[in-house]
């Protein structure tokens, strides 16, 4: 038979129902034959009852209200604001991530097409009323795209004013020199706003 010291260490867990089944059997057999350990078990139970009987019952008056009042004053986290915004648009997280990825890819492509190549076209902003040189291989369509996007990129090295056209007509003129690689664009000046 296991000595009382070994059993005493298991009595608390035995009483709490936290002992492994094989040990439960050992303790139960020991208790059946040992009055000393049986008395110790009874004292452990009594101690538990005493602690519970003397324990303070927490006062709950207004507790939940205080907690909820504090919670209501908390700033809403960014993730929740974002989720709410997406929800209002009827988007789910995967749809939002896919859309954001597509938008990023499109923006990257546009930036690369506009500025990324070594022979970047230099186009003066609309309204400069100047004729500028566009390097070889660039089409007017690309220049138009940059203009449509409002991109003004007058690089000091690439941009050369060839001539200035004097005209009252508001349209874009374009020449290509057959023997060279130069394209010439004329951009009309913005009409002045009289105050």
């Amino acid at each position: 038979m296991i000595e009382c010291t070994g059993i005493a260490e298991l009595l608390g867990a035995f009483r709490d129902g936290e002992l492994e089944p094989d040990k439960v059997a050992i303790v139960a057999r020991h208790l059946a034959a040992c009055t000393q350990c049986e008395m110790l078990l009874s004292e452990i139970c009594e101690l538990g009852e005493t602690l519970r009987a003397s324990a303070w019952e927490p006062c709950l008056d207004g507790f939940a209200e205080q907690v909820l009042s504090r919670v209501a004053r908390l700033p809403e986290p960014f993730s929740r604001r974002l989720r709410r915004g997406l929800g209002a648009l009827g988007w789910s997280w995967p749809a939002a991530i896919t859309s954001a990825s597509l938008a990023t890819a499109l923006a990257s492509w546009l930036v690369l097409m506009t500025f990324g190549k070594p022979n970047t076209p230099s186009i003066t902003a609309a309204g400069s009323n100047a004729v500028t040189e566009v390097r070889a291989g660039e089409s007017a369509a690309q220049g138009g795209l940059a203009q449509a996007l409002g991109l003004s990129y007058p690089g000091p090295k690439d941009q050369v004013v060839i001539s200035r056209l004097e005209t009252d007509r508001h349209h874009v003129a374009l020449w290509s020199e057959p023997e060279g690689t130069t394209t010439v664009i004329w951009l009309p000046e913005e009409p002045e706003i009289s105050e």
Binding site: A8, L47, A53, F63, A64, V67, R70, P77
Partner: protein, 192 residues
């Protein structure tokens, strides 16, 4: 289905709603757990005022960090763990010595002598209560917390282990030690 079972079935849904910012759903969780969280806080601090403050703070932090709750443990154990961490911080702060002089010191002495409120029912047998309080004071905070969480709050060994962040075997040995110490301290009273 009993009320408790119905609540358990709804708890996951309430947590999901609260994660999305639904404060009404969180209010249901608070009302369900307030008694138990206050009890655990009291077992850890033995001061009703501190317990109320810690439990309140624990609920607020739980709401702020609900996104991190992944249901690997039960929601109750997660709450207990938050309040246990707050109790550890409080104990660290209080372990620093505070020097009081003059009228302030006298006032504090009067307050300490008069309060005697350590979370124990004052209507329960005066002498036994006093002995029990003194016996609990003799224990280390770790041993005291373990026995109060088990005997008063009825937490399982696993829950105590997760709440206090220690192995189950440690819970078992601390519990045995605390029981034997209290039994020893209350021996004279019991044999009257």
């Amino acid at each position: 289905m009993s009320g408790d079972n119905r609540y358990a079935a709804d708890e996951a849904e309430l947590i999901q709603q609260a994660k999305k910012g639904d404060q009404q759903a969180f209010a249901v969780l608070v009302r369900h757990y307030q008694r138990r969280l206050l009890g655990v806080a009291l077992a850890l601090t033995r001061n009703p005022d501190d317990a109320a403050e810690l439990a309140q703070e624990a609920f607020v932090r739980a709401y702020q960090n609900l996104g991190q709750f992944e249901a690997r443990s039960s929601f109750s154990t997660w709450l207990y763990r938050i309040v246990a961490n707050l109790a550890i911080d409080l104990r660290r702060r209080e372990s620093r010595h505070v020097v009081l002089r003059g009228e302030e010191a006298e006032s504090e002495l009067r307050r300490l002598a008069g309060s005697g409120d350590t979370g124990f029912n004052t209507t329960f047998g005066g002498e036994l209560r006093g002995r029990l309080r003194a016996a609990l004071d003799e224990l280390t905070p770790e041993h005291r917390a373990v026995i109060l969480l088990r005997e008063v709050e009825g937490l399982s060994y696993e829950e105590i282990s997760e709440t206090l962040g220690c192995p189950r075997g440690t819970v078992m040995s601390r519990l045995h030690y605390a029981r034997m110490r209290l039994r020893e301290q209350l021996k004279d009273f019991r044999h009257r």
